[in-house]
Symmetry: C2
């Protein structure tokens, strides 16, 4: 599909592994003083003196994490990088370097690979991150992208999942459920297209949720604003698997419980509307839908007035309790429902339904 865009098609084997590495990495200038040596040696050399180094890896597999039918390669590259940056922001750190491992089958052209790296480049520019290494190899079937991100934080700035205390306020940035609605729209149009290849996909009017799915952003701005306001979260995690799953992580790691108010969960109007069209309760889309990459964090109550200054970006959705392991959703009519993680679980997906959310 990616080849429709370009007339040129250069086969991967025309360049060979080293030619390919040279080509895809040539336009990645180093931006961070800590990036002493990038691509081109056995390892990159990084200097983080006096800082903590943060490291995280994500593996994205075609047919599991993305569907080439509707994922433009440039968007895919951008997203693959950004979701990794998000992990570093979730530690209250700053992403500084990435190394990219890529497995590609020869049904991809060099131009397709250029598109993928154009997306990675755009993400690196937007977030001031250096590409400092990689490994490119062939793959028997489809595309595999492994991105490892390195970040830094001052010792006293690192925020773990484990620091939440009873009575801390539970906060979330942005709004939730949109990325999942975007996925449902794309899956619906794909199914229509497969049934009738002459059909034009109906994507207009869904811009917000499609962008949430295809081109998510990491909340660099929220981390910076919190710092500027002098708020250090007591615990933090990014929302990749859905709100419920992430709350349970914070509770487990911190040894606390949580009371979550359903009517406080931030939803974009378009997310709510589309959810209803799909006969999904909007808050359930937020609780169980993944890939929003918003930040979920807890703050001490003393910071309540400060966080009000971020009310456009941050919503207080509940509070932590001393009831270790008990996380509950309080519905608008005061029903209490135990929270369960029903997010992405790639291992429960049958081979015929790859990429589709499990709903057990």
């Amino acid at each position: 599909m990616e080849d429709n865009k370009s007339i040129e098609r250069t086969e991967l084997d025309e360049l060979g592994e080293f030619g390919l590495i040279d080509r895809v990495t040539e336009d990645f200038p180093l931006r961070n003083a800590s990036s002493l040596k990038g691509v081109g040696d056995d390892a990159a050399v990084i200097n983080h003196e006096g800082y903590r180094t943060l490291v995280s890896v994500d593996l994205l597999v075609e047919g599991i994490h993305f569907d080439m039918t509707y994922t433009p390669l440039k968007h895919l590259g951008y997203k693959a990088a950004v979701v990794n940056f998000s992990d570093i922001y979730a530690m209250n750190g700053t992403p500084t370097q990435i190394v990219v491992g890529l497995g590609i089958s020869n049904r991809y052209s060099v131009e397709a690979l250029d598109e993928l790296y154009a997306g990675i480049r755009l993400a690196c520019e937007a977030y001031n991150v250096d590409l400092v290494g990689g490994d490119t190899t062939s793959s028997r079937s489809g595309l595999v992208i492994s991105i490892t991100v390195i970040g830094m934080a001052k010792e006293e700035e690192v925020v773990y999942r484990s620091g939440a205390q009873p009575n801390d306020l539970l906060c979330v940035s942005g709004d939730l459920g949109g990325a999942y609605m975007g996925l449902l729209i794309l899956e619906r149009e794909k199914a229509e297209y497969l049934a009738n290849p002459n059909m034009q996909p109906q994507l207009s009017g869904f811009d917000y949720v499609l962008e949430r799915q295809l081109k998510p952003e990491a909340r660099k701005d929220v981390v910076a604003r919190l710092k500027a306001l002098g708020i250090k979260p007591t615990s933090m995690i990014d929302i990749s698997d859905g709100l419920a799953s992430e709350i349970l992580h914070l509770c487990k790691e911190s040894g606390v419980g949580c009371q979550l108010y359903e009517n406080k969960i931030p939803l974009d109007p378009s997310t709510s509307k589309i959810a209803k069209d799909f006969q999904i309760v909007p808050s359930v889309a937020a609780l169980n839908g993944g890939e929003d990459y918003e930040l979920l964090f807890t703050i001490n109550q003393k910071d309540y007035e400060k966080i009000q200054q971020m009310s456009e970006d941050v919503t207080v959705i509940g509070y932590m309790t001393a009831d270790k392991g008990i996380a509950e959703l309080i519905t608008p009519d005061n029903h209490v429902i135990p929270l369960k993680a029903q997010g992405w679980d790639h291992f429960k997906v049958g081979s015929e339904e790859l990429g589709v959310r499990s709903e057990e």
Copy 2:
């Protein structure tokens, strides 16, 4: 094949992603003071104050880099880790942490995954490296292993590929070509087995080359010995793609040439014998065979006497010249042959010959 060994078979979906991560990472105690936080948060936290951080990634794909027909999973895990450590030693550094990205199809059981991690654990123990993070997901076909290694070195200790000077001596550790011979033996026995499944593989007598292929070691000892002797290589690289390819890398990055003496190339007697059985000139196996993971490095001539003390482990095989880009092999009868990289080139391998060396 991995399931023949164990009676138990637990399906991956019985544990789910988080259960799986808990299971495979539970027995990895942190050994390095710099590993402040390992598995279980958005990112690992590493403290390398006053040191350079080194980072390298390798992606291993089933059917391209390994063949499950003859690769025990424990060996595969060990090798996947060790080849990454080798990249850090090749910078004259010490590997300290790894993060592991794993894509697996559900034809693998949890017990198979345990085997793979047992190999990674063994490597971490042998090389004093901490597993500090990972990402485990399903894969549509086969196994994908992405390992990112983090290492450290004092600022003044880092050795790049680019530091070789004219008249430096070219040195190599251990002996070469063995891993390639091991691969040829395994491929031969696989072909025999496919032709006649009742046949017993004939692997006895090939122990050395099989171990070179299936369970390579990184030359931690050589790096330590060089330090003890006060020798700092002027340039260094590890041999993953074959001697010729790596020499060309050093020449290119350092802007020098090289004269290599064919009769100095270290070969184990069993490598030479097997090469002849396959009608391959033994030195060609060393020049073009990959995966030996020995160290190739250059030293100043003033260190010649010191390096003699390592003559059991290190061989001087040539010297660097000012003839930028001209790398030549001097045969025993004084013929001069331009060196060409004919090592692994995974993109040139047709889909029917995956895993087989290209010979163009």
